[in-house]
Symmetry: C2
Subunit: 223 residues, 2 copies
């Protein structure tokens, strides 16, 4: 046995990458980066970490070659360093879902249909919204929202949901709605909000049903 073991060194290098992914916060950061490049601050906000901590996690990801960064103006933007990183993440998720009973359990605990199946009736929502007890969320595209929406509803397209969690008053239930009972947007929104720990339900029916029932509607000229 002459020089230091090549194989050993090689596996150590591979391990660097696995290790970089071996922390929940870093995986969460990678997940956000999978949607496109983000600044350190943006990442810190969505992941609920301090900026310094986020920065350090990003350093580790960069050292492992998983992300790249570039400075634009004041901000440093990070992005995944390639599609293969995305593939690796998918692979990891796949294995996790197939192998870890805990994942299964978590998913069914939080995203179960058990009360997805209990949408909020329109009348109840109207009542509670008037009392300011719920946040009404419209997950349709901005154009549809502008054309008419529930009174007091805020409009956040699904894609931006995770980035705008701070727009929701804390500890207040969110009721989401979309185009109607055959539209899955609101289902998805409810699932995602619950994933972040936000209590959420779905409006029974959607905007068209609401309007047809003669309930009050608001529309936006130009804010």
């Amino acid at each position: 046995m002459s020089s230091s073991h090549f194989k050993h060194d090689l596996f150590a290098q591979f391990a660097r990458i696995a290790k970089a992914m071996g922390h929940g916060n870093r995986l969460e950061i990678l997940e956000y980066l999978a949607q496109g490049e983000r600044s350190v601050e943006a990442l810190a906000t969505v992941s609920g970490l301090t900026v310094a901590n986020t920065s350090q996690h990003l350093q580790q990801l960069r050292q492992a070659g998983l992300v790249e960064s570039s400075k634009v103006g004041l901000k440093v933007f990070y992005r995944l360093s390639g599609d293969d990183v995305l593939a690796l993440l998918d692979c990891l998720r796949g294995v996790a879902e197939r192998r870890l009973a805990d994942v299964e359990r978590l998913v069914t605990t939080y995203l179960t249909v058990k009360d997805n199946l209990e949408p909020v009736p329109a009348g109840e929502l109207l009542e509670r919204a008037r009392q300011g007890l719920v946040t009404v969320l419209d997950v349709r595209p901005p154009e549809e929202y502008a054309a008419g929406h529930l009174p007091g509803a805020i409009n956040i397209p699904l894609a931006e949901l995770e980035d705008r969690l701070q727009d929701f008053p804390e500890d207040q239930e969110v009721v989401a709605y979309c185009r109607g009972p055959h539209c899955v947007l609101a289902f998805d929104a409810v699932a995602r909000l619950r994933a972040e720990g936000v209590p959420a339900r779905r409006l029974e029916g959607g905007f068209p049903e609401w309007r047809r029932a003669g309930l009050p509607v608001e529309s936006t000229r130009k804010t």
Copy 2:
């Protein structure tokens, strides 16, 4: 924000898997298991770890759901828990090779052609083998070996190479040969041996050339 964050928990679960792979020794173990099921002892031998240590790494891999085990007689055999684990390993290797300059460097340092291109001439090998200075390795299938081989050569098919490193006297150069100059087996063997830190070179030509040159040949009846 009500109950503990689902997303957080979920990423923590994913991280368990990445963390389990985040150590060179465990990756090495996984690599060996990728070739088929092995006992704890066998894994300890090939990876150069103590049995207890190997056992502990295996526990971690099992907790992450990456391997399964079953007891057969005295021994416990471990295996990868599915093809998706293999896919994950490949994915990891792929990213590592594309992203880590260090990997590239290691590979070229150890496996470079720089002296792969200097095979041992037959005459030199004969001389040094007589003095007992080299281990002669025949990497052809056992049948071909039985039909005739270099004097004193040991026969280890490529697939078993890593498992039988202990068969080589330490600190002695290994000279590998196979069917001839167009056969890649010996190249591969040399690369793998070097990867394990064993000094190795390739015989110029192969067994047919050796015999044709009128050099001594041994053959096996039945051991």
